[in-house]
């Protein structure tokens, strides 16, 4: 049943990506071939949402043209075919991140995945108090005196669900501060994550700073404290080779639309021994065994966490996206994007009045750069770039506490993907160098 993905050994044998190869890749992305305000589109907003190759668009269309049916029910031909491609897609994702098939849960997006963990954990406390479910639930619930730890660089999606979990359970939320250049204070992490810590949630790569966090060190700190680890992989799964087993995290989440897939689908990875005992978050159809008028028994993971009609065409299309990435080779993607990220930072730092957030040029970062332009608001910067056909993100990028920490309310962010050339970066840098003069800053 498993879809055979291209072995990584083959991908490794491919030469590094370069502009010529990227120009060939671009041909697979129809949306990139257009004029915006009379200029060829330069799309540098993949950190917000990425574009889809034809193979992804066709996978979704083919599903609707040939196989559309509800999954996991019905004995007819289409229902069987739809179930097969839906579950094949799960295997493809599992292979992509080094997980087992049963450990991959479909969600609507990464935000839903994080809320799922948050609610499953508070339900664990409720169940344990009533003597319901597996005995191990007694160790998973949280209460007063327990602590949840996050970091100062989190996206709101990896902050607010934990604030609310703390509110529901009486636990306390703490955070690891950052240094001015955007690295986590590891010395403080070792002090803050302690015996009271039950859960440590942090991002793999910052959507604002571009910092790649030292996951293994952070996991080691959590293990010493006996805390569960939740990894926000939204900015890593699309851009570098991710292996959840090697990193030894308990949970990880990521979004389909940031990795060449469609919107409306995300992935939650959870260690099997945890998913097997955790209570569900959403309840209803498709996730039960026996239902009476009084109560219900639930299916094992992953179905236990997939209530209601699933995101079938999106799952199939996401598998096509993952196949595209695997065939290109995640190590090649990572190296190319690092190069683009470094080019952005070096170029931005050379422009008067620009302050780049996060690691300085030469330091590790993913292929994005957020920056402040002295005397010009980010919305004006974005508008100026848009007039030249350049798409970037402006605002707080769903990280208000991080911006407040850096003394800013809004910044401009350029984020690259495997379809961006060095010319894209140079166009962008050339445009940014004209911003302050235009706005008389």
């Amino acid at each position: 049943m498993a879809v055979v993905s291209t072995p990584t050994t083959l991908a490794r044998a491919l030469p590094a990506l370069d502009n010529a190869e990227v120009l060939r890749i671009r041909n697979d992305f129809p949306v990139l071939d257009q004029l915006v305000n009379g200029r060829p589109l330069v799309y540098l907003d993949s950190g917000a949402t990425s574009q889809n190759p034809l193979s992804v668009i066709e996978a979704e269309q083919e599903f609707y043209e040939q196989r559309n049916a509800a999954v996991h029910r019905g004995a007819h031909h289409l229902a069987v075919e739809a179930t097969e491609v839906f579950e094949d897609a799960r295997q493809t994702i599992a292979d992509f991140v080094g997980a087992q098939y049963e450990e991959i849960v479909w969600t609507s997006n990464a935000t839903e995945g994080l809320n799922l963990i948050s609610y499953a954990l508070s339900n664990a406390g409720l169940w344990a108090a009533q003597g319901r479910g597996d005995a191990r639930l007694r160790d998973l619930g949280l209460g007063p005196g327990d602590e949840i730890v996050v970091t100062e660089m989190e996206h709101h999606a990896n902050l607010i669900p934990w604030q609310e979990l703390a509110y529901r359970t009486g636990a306390t939320l703490r955070y690891i501060p950052i240094e001015d250049f955007g690295n986590l204070r590891l010395d403080q992490a070792a002090e803050i994550v302690g015996e009271r810590t039950r859960l440590f949630a942090f991002t793999h790569a910052s959507n604002v700073l571009g910092t790649i966090n030292p996951v293994q060190e952070l996991v080691a700190i959590a293990r010493r404290a006996g805390a569960l680890v939740v990894l926000d992989a939204c900015q890593s799964a699309p851009h570098l080779a991710l292996d959840v087993k090697q990193l030894d995290v308990d949970f990880a989440v990521f979004s389909g639309h940031k990795m060449l897939g469609p919107t409306g689908i995300g992935v939650l990875y959870g260690k099997q021994e945890l998913l097997d005992v955790l209570p569900p978050f959403l309840t209803g159809g498709s996730m039960i065994t026996t239902v009476t008028m009084e109560r219900a028994e639930y299916l094992p993971a992953p179905q236990r966490f997939e209530a209601g009609t699933q995101k079938i065409s999106q799952a199939v299309a996401l598998a096509a996206a993952v196949n595209y990435l695997t065939e290109t080779g995640m190590d090649r993607v990572h190296r190319w994007e690092s190069e683009l990220g470094q080019r952005m930072v070096a170029g931005l730092e050379a422009i008067d009045g620009i302050r780049v957030l996060g690691p300085a040029a030469g330091q590790d970062r993913i292929g994005l750069a957020a920056f402040d332009v002295a005397g010009v608001h980010a919305h004006d910067v974005g508008q100026f770039l848009d007039a030249r056909g350049i798409a970037v993100r402006v605002g707080h990028h769903c990280a208000q506490p991080l911006h407040r920490r850096l003394g800013l309310t809004a910044t401009t962010r350029a984020s690259a993907y495997l379809y961006n050339t060095t010319d894209d970066v140079d166009e962008f840098l050339d445009a940014v160098s004209g911003v302050r003069a235009y706005f008389r800053a």
Partner: protein, 149 residues
């Protein structure tokens, strides 16, 4: 539409020389009836705190403090310059006209006879994401008027 049609000279001028800015250092005229409003756009962080002082049915002073993009700051400056000396009814009617133009997606043209310098913001109507920037101080003024008048 070109960038220069959006960022007209009047807008760029007012975004730098901000009329009526400095609320905290400006006292309201003695005996005037005042209203204060704070508006925030959570999407971009644009923020305006604005006070209207009304004397005998006339806007005696419109002072504000704010932080934000050039369009939001210029629009507060233009509003402040225009509003002082207007009757409360006149200002309400200008605000309502400004809103109609801004929300029309470019279908309703600005009449300089009615809107004065604020007619320069006509181009903003074509950029749905920026309409709130231009409106923020006008919404604050409307709110403050309701308290003062």
């Amino acid at each position: 539409m070109s960038l220069d049609q959006l960022y007209q000279q009047i807008i760029l001028d007012h975004s730098k020389a901000r009329h009526g800015s400095g609320l905290s250092e400006t006292a309201a005229p003695e005996g005037a009836s005042t209203g204060l409003s704070h508006q925030l756009n959570p999407v971009c962080g644009d923020e305006v705190t604005l006070r209207v002082a009304v004397e005998r049915g006339t806007v005696a002073q419109l002072a504000w403090d704010g932080a934000g993009c050039s369009i939001s700051m210029a629009s507060a400056s233009v509003l402040s310059e225009m509003a002082e000396g207007m009757s409360v009814d006149e200002l309400r009617s200008v605000i309502s006209n400004f809103r109609e133009v801004l929300r029309s997606r470019g279908k309703v043209h600005a009449d300089p006879e009615v809107l004065g310098d604020a007619a320069a913001f006509e181009g903003v109507a074509r950029y749905a994401a920026r309409v709130k920037c231009a409106m923020i101080s006008w919404v604050a003024a409307e709110d403050a008027l309701n308290q003062a008048a």
